[in-house]
Amino acid sequence: MMSRWMKLLVRMYPVSWRGRYEAEFAALLEEVQPSWRGSFDILKGAVAMQLRTIRLGKSFVLLGVLGFFAALIPSYFIKDEYASSAVIKIQSLRASGNQVPPTAVEDQMKMWLDKTLSSQSLGRLIEKFKLYPEKQGKESREEIVARMREAIEVRPTGKDEAMLQFRYYDRFLAKLVAEELTDDLVDRSHDATAANRSFDLGILNPVQPANFPIYPTR
C-alpha cells in the first residue's frame, strides 16, 4: 500500500498523465518505497509534467504556489525572536539643573556601555542564563558574546531618554537579560566617581515581556 504522502505526491501529476500512468507508477512506488530524496524526485517529476501539459497561465500559478510553499517551509525552521526593552532616563546632577551637553552624555554613556557590553560582562550573563545553548561547543566564547552583542541595541529615543533592547528567541529570557543589562548600566552611572558625574541614569519604563515575536512574522 502506498503511504498518504506518496498518494499526495502522485496526485500532483496532471490528471491526464495519471489516467495513463497512475496504476503502474503506484506499483513502482510500492516496490521502491522512496526515501526523502525519492519523494523530492517525484515532486520534481510532477512539476515537470505539469509544465509539459498545462497552459502558460496555469504554469505561472503553479510555480507561484510552489514558490510560496518553498518560502514557507524554511520560515518554520527559523526561531521566533522576541525583543524586550527598557527606557532609561538621563538625569542631570548639576546643582543649577543646567542641561548636560549632549557630547558629554554621549561620551559618558559610551564609557558605561563599553563596560556593560564587555566580553566579561556579557559572558557572565551567558553563563548565568545559559543563553545560546545550541551554539555551545560549536562556536567560541567570543563568537557567542559577539552574537549576543549584536542582539543588544541602545539608542536615543527622545530628549534625555534612551532605549535599551535585547532580542532573543525565549521571551522570558529576553526580559530577564534586558533587565540585567539595564540595571547594570544604571548601577554603573550611580557608582561613577563624583568628578565624572554630571548626570546619572534612571529607569523611566521598566522592561516589559514581549508578547509577540518580532521575527519571523507569519
Binding site: F25, A27, E31, P34, R37, G38, F40, D41, G45, A48
Partner: protein, 95 residues
C-alpha cells in the same frame, strides 16, 4: 552518461522490463540510480516519441519494449557518445 533517455533505451535494448526492473538494471550497468519521478518522466517522453511502447501484462507493473525507431535513436546516441569518448581519449594521449 546520466541522461535518462540513453539509460532507459539501453536498459530496454536487451529485453522488455517494467519500471522497477529498469531502475535496478540501470543502477547495475551504469551506477546511476534514477528516481521514480525521473524514470517515469523519461518513460512518458520516450513513449510519446514512439521509441518505446507498453507490452500487454497481467501484472500492475507495466513492462515496456524498445521499438525499431527507439533502437535507431539509441544507435545514434551511442555513436555520438563514442565520438566524444574517442575525442577525449585522443586528446588525453596527446596532452
Amino acid at each position: 552518461m546520466s541522461d535518462p533517455t540513453l539509460l532507459v533505451l539501453s536498459s530496454l535494448a536487451n529485453g522488455d522490463k517494467h519500471g522497477y526492473a529498469m531502475m535496478e538494471d540501470i543502477a547495475e550497468f551504469s551506477g546511476v540510480r534514477l528516481g521514480p519521478g525521473t524514470l517515469y518522466g523519461a518513460i512518458t517522453r520516450l513513449e510519446h516519441q514512439k521509441w518505446i511502447r507498453p507490452v500487454p501484462s497481467d501484472d500492475r507493473r507495466q513492462p515496456y519494449r524498445i521499438t525499431a525507431e527507439g533502437r535507431a535513436h539509441l544507435k545514434e546516441l551511442l555513436k555520438q557518445l563514442d565520438q566524444v569518448v574517442k575525442a577525449g581519449q585522443r586528446r588525453l594521449k596527446h596532452a
